[in-house]
Structures are given as structure tokens and as C-alpha cells.
Amino acid sequence: MSAVALEVRNVVKTFESDSGTINAVDDVSFIVEHGEFVALVGPSGSGKTTMLSILAALLTPTSGQVLIDGQDLARMSEGQRVGLRRKKIGFTFQSNNLIPFLTAAENVEFMLRLNGKLDKAGKLRSQELLSRLGLSDRLNNLPNQMSGGQQQRVAIARALIHSPTVVLADEPTASLDTERAYQVVKTFAALIHEDQRAGIIVTHDLRMVQYVDRVLQMRDGKLVKVLNDKKEILALAKGE
């Protein structure tokens, strides 16, 4: 298996609006390896969510390439992109993450069900994963019976259960208090490293980057800075 899980090559995404053409993502390139946890940061409107949507195969780039396990998203049909999202991508969102009528365990198992891989072993694995995330007593709870932090942890379990190549998280701590937010990102990072997934978190909360391996800073659609050094990353997290 190649060390490269995700490769972004000169991706450009433009939108047409009344005021003219907007370059939401402007010639961005980077690589994320298996077992690497990367933060995509930047001010509002910097293009990080658009970038994440392109990585999630929800949006096609105007030009450039996005390769997941060597497969180019731009060359895929809509049906193939749906298949790729199901098999190779794990996704957590800011809110409305879970299917409201499925319990925590069922939400996680749903990813396996979607992939036609739900068996006894899969059920056991999802329960173990939820237990690791501190939710062993919440397996049969519906989302509205859980706190925001618990729901985010269920979403993380769902994003990881089917062993995807890439795990994407869009502002997963936006609706959590600081303590819960640290806990969620810390657990997320640990699972990314353990399972050798390529993790990308989009966040505007720079305190959360202390758990990542690399920080990609975006501004006006461009990738303006890459932090690889742990000291630099910790300094950024501390606001120095």
C-alpha cells in the first residue's frame, strides 16, 4: 500500500456570482499520508469548507486533481463518487450528524450496512468502537437522548467503522464546550493514528490543532502556509 492516501494537485474551484467569478479554492496542492492527521484552518471565507467538500467528493473541482488511493475523483461519474464516499471516505459534520431515528449503535452499524458488510463481527466492532469513545452505556440511545459531545463521538465512530482511506471532519467541535471539544479531537486523533487513516479536520478553533500532525493554513482560497513542526503547531494552538 502506498503511503499516500490523499493527493490534491493544483485544485481550483470557481463560482460564478452577480459580482463576477469567485475563486473559492485557488491552485491548492498537498498530500496526506496514511496515519496522518491534518488540520485545515483559516478565517471564514478562506475556502476550507469548499476544499473539504471537494475532498469528500461532494463537489467537483473546476480544474486540478484529487486522488484517493490513486483514484481521480474528477474522472468519476456521480454513481462512482457515491460509491467512493460510501467505501473510502468517513465524514463528520458540524451538526445534524446522525440519523435521528437510529440508535447510537445503529447509526454506526449503518455505515457497514450501507457497504453490505454488517455481520456479527461488524456489530461487535461498532460496539467496541463506541465503548472506546466512552459510549458503552449509550448504545441504544437515540440521538435526541444524547448530548452534543456524545453525538459527535458517535459520528466519529461512524466515520471510522468501515475502515475508510480518508476521514474528514467539518468543524466537529463547533457546538461543544471547550472541555468536550478537546476530548473529541483528542480521541479522533488517537483513532486516526491507530487505524492508519488519513484524517483532515477543518476548524476555526486554533486550540484544537495541538492534536494534529500538520496544519494547512488557507486564505482567500489559497494555501498560504504549511506547519509541519510540532513546536510551531503548539505555538499556533496557544495563540503565540
Binding site: S53, A56, R85, F91, F93, N96, L98, I99, M111
Partner: protein, 387 residues
């Protein structure tokens, strides 16, 4: 196949976890079902009470006096015409029908209003008896009662019944011996009794001027053909051969029973509008539900559920909720029908009820079609507000 199971799983899980809300919708469908089935049964009951005898006659064509617009009560024919019709090549037999109303006098000063129908023994127009026998002669003071008469009274074979007809300005009473019981033969909303033609002329209500008349007045002639498949050809042939008549087939005769078409049209319009209201109510509910579920559908699509899975899950849910509603409605209809008095003309005919149920099962998907299209068109990016 995996996707179908996935859709079933999603659809039924949601219904089960929100069973109170979905049951409420099913109950609305149940009430619509109740209404539609009752309207269908009422339509069938009214129609049956109006046409039952004509629809069971063993004949293919009906001969009327010309320019009477196929209205049985307006037509007046005579024996000459009857013999002329019988002589037409291709006619196997022809029998007269004379119509009127009378009342059977029952114990306790009660009466049962009935259609008094004059027919000829052994000729088309006389109903098949299911018990007893037919008339022996055209002048025998005998009567065949239809099953409804037997059910609504305690009259049985061999009894002598008393009928009361107003002739001139006086009530006259006539005795008739019950020799046969036919299947149900309602005509013009009344159960029927059948008497020989001459007895009919003697016993029917008459104006003062008609009292001395003893020749039976024929309203129409029923024609049985040698080859029933040639009805259209024979219809023309009789009209051309016999003077001053117009000929119709049985369905045309039924649709020209006074009020029949208007009544059936009214009932069918009521049924149609009830179904239309059903479609709008169900459609509105599912559309609101889909609007509430936009983020949820967005998540499903973002994590890899295909449009097929999302769309099929919506359809399954709609069909399931509708089917539950129709089943509850059917059960309620049955229970309510047990409590209705026999005078209410509700007739649960298998085919019309089945048709109503099929229409009811179709209103859910028809109403929910817009919401299914909407669900399939939801873009995960917009649903999740990523754009």
C-alpha cells in the same frame, strides 16, 4: 437487492421510531378509506336497488315505443308489436314487461311497498325462481316474490298475500298465492313481486278511466336472441322491421332509468373528490415531512446512500403508511356497516370495493410523488449548508 433491503430498513425503522406521528397519518387515511368505501357501497347499493331486476333479465335487447328516450315508464306497446318482434328472424323469444307499484299488506296494519311487475310465464322477463315454481298460466292468481320481500317480511312459499292498490278513488285488495321465490330483483328502489300479465292488469293501481280495461298494458318487450353476439345487428334489424319502436341493449336501458345516471354520477363525483382530498392531504403531509428531513437526507447522501436508496425508502414509507391506513379504514368500515339498518342501501360489492381499495392504495404514492422527487433532488452540500 442490498439497496432494496437498505431502503426497507430505513423506511420501517423511521416509521417504528416515530409510530405515533405515522399512525396519525394512517388514521387520516383510514378516515378517507371509511368515507370512500361507504360512498362506493352507497353508490353500489343505490345502483343495485335501481337496476337489479333489469340487469338480471335473461335477454339482450329491450324494445320501447319510438321516441320515448328508452324510458320504461314512458313506453307503451301492445300485443301486435310483441308478436311482430317474435317474428323477426334471429329472435329466439320475446316477453312483455308491465310495471307498476303496489303495497303488500302485512300484519299490524303495516305495508311493504313493492314494484308490481307483470310478466308472461316462460317468456323473457320472468325471473328464475330459486325456490318453488313459476306461474302455471297467464291468468293464475299467483305471485313470485323476490328474496328481499321474503327477508323483510315473514312471507313464505304457499302463503296467500294481500296487496292493496288504489283504483279510481278506492283502495282495492287482491289475494295472491306465493308459488315461487326469486333471487333479489329490486326495481326502482323497491323489492319486486311478479305476477302474470292479466293478473297485473287486474291488480295494478289505476285511474278511474282505466278500471274497465282488462287488456294488459305492456311497457317494454325483452328480446332474447338466438345469437347474443349479434346484439348490435339485431338491434338495427328489429328497429327496421318492427314499426314505431326503438331498441336498446341492457346497459343503455339501465342508464336511462330515470335518475340512475345522475345519481351514479353524483356518487362517483363524491368518491372522486374524496380521493382527490386524500391525495392532497397525504401529499401535503409527506411534503412537510421531507422538508423537515432535508438535513437527514443530506447526511445519508453525503455518507454514500444513493438516490435510489433515499427515493425507494420514501416510497416504501408512503406505501406502508397508506396500506396500514387502508387496512384500518377497511376494518372500521366493516365494523360500522354491522350497525347500519337494512334500509340504508349499502352494498359492499367485491369488485367496486376492490376498485375503491386500489384507488385508495394509489392515493398515497400519488400524493407523495412530489415529496419523493424532492427527496431525490436534495443536494447534500446544500442540505448540510456546506455551500
Amino acid at each position: 437487492m442490498k439497496n432494496i433491503f437498505l431502503s426497507i430498513y430505513l423506511a420501517l425503522k423511521e416509521v417504528w421510531r416515530n409510530r405515533g406521528r405515522f399512525l396519525l397519518v394512517s388514521m387520516v387515511i383510514a378516515l378517507i378509506t371509511l368515507l370512500v368505501l361507504f360512498i362506493a357501497a352507497l353508490g353500489e347499493g343505490l345502483g343495485t336497488n335501481n337496476r337489479e331486476y333489469i340487469s338480471k333479465v335473461d335477454a339482450q335487447l329491450v324494445v320501447f315505443l319510438d321516441k320515448t328516450d328508452y324510458i320504461i315508464g314512458s313506453s307503451r306497446l301492445d300485443d301486435v308489436t310483441l308478436r311482430a318482434v317474435r317474428r323477426v328472424d334471429g329472435v329466439e323469444d320475446a316477453g312483455p314487461l308491465s310495471t307498476s307499484s303496489t303495497a303488500i299488506v302485512l300484519p299490524g296494519d303495516k305495508v311493504l311497498k313493492v314494484s308490481l311487475l307483470g310478466v308472461q310465464a316462460g317468456r323473457p322477463g320472468i325471473p328464475a325462481v330459486i325456490s318453488g315454481r313459476s306461474f302455471l298460466t297467464d291468468q293464475a292468481k299467483e305471485v313470485i316474490i323476490d328474496q328481499r320481500v321474503a327477508e323483510q317480511t315473514s312471507i313464505k312459499l304457499g302463503d296467500v298475500i294481500l296487496i292493496r292498490s288504489t283504483q279510481g278513488t278506492k283502495d282495492q285488495f287482491f289475494e295472491l298465492r306465493v308459488v315461487g321465490i326469486s333471487s333479489r330483483q329490486a326495481y326502482l328502489f323497491q323489492p319486486s313481486i311478479f305476477v302474470p300479465a292479466f293478473v297485473w292488469e287486474r291488480d295494478r293501481p289505476k285511474s278511474a278511466a282505466e278500471i274497465s280495461n282488462l287488456t294488459p298494458a305492456i311497457n317494454v318487450i325483452f328480446v332474447k336472441l338466438k345469437d347474443p353476439t349479434q346484439a348490435k345487428v339485431m338491434l338495427q334489424k328489429i328497429q327496421q322491421t318492427v314499426e314505431n319502436v326503438q331498441v336498446a341493449d341492457i346497459p343503455t336501458t339501465i342508464s336511462n332509468i330515470p335518475g340512475y345516471s345522475a345519481q351514479q354520477g353524483t356518487v362517483q363525483t363524491q368518491g372522486f373528490f374524496t380521493l382527490l382530498i386524500g391525495v392532497l392531504v397525504i401529499g401535503g403531509f409527506f411534503q412537510i415531512q421531507i422538508l423537515q428531513k432535508v438535513p437527514q437526507i443530506g447526511v445519508l447522501k453525503a455518507i454514500g446512500a444513493s438516490n435510489f436508496v433515499v427515493g425507494l425508502a420514501s416510497i416504501i414509507q408512503i406505501v406502508f403508511v397508506t396500506a396500514v391506513g387502508v387496512a384500518i379504514g377497511g376494518l372500521l368500515t366493516y365494523l360500522f356497516s354491522l350497525g347500519f339498518p337494512p334500509t340504508v342501501p349499502l352494498y359492499f360489492n367485491g369488485s367496486s370495493s376492490a376498485l375503491a381499495i386500489i384507488a385508495l392504495l394509489a392515493i398515497g404514492p400519488a400524493g407523495g410523488l412530489v415529496s419523493v422527487f424532492y427527496a431525490v433532488r436534495i443536494e447534500p452540500l446544500k442540505a448540510l449548508r456546506l455551500l
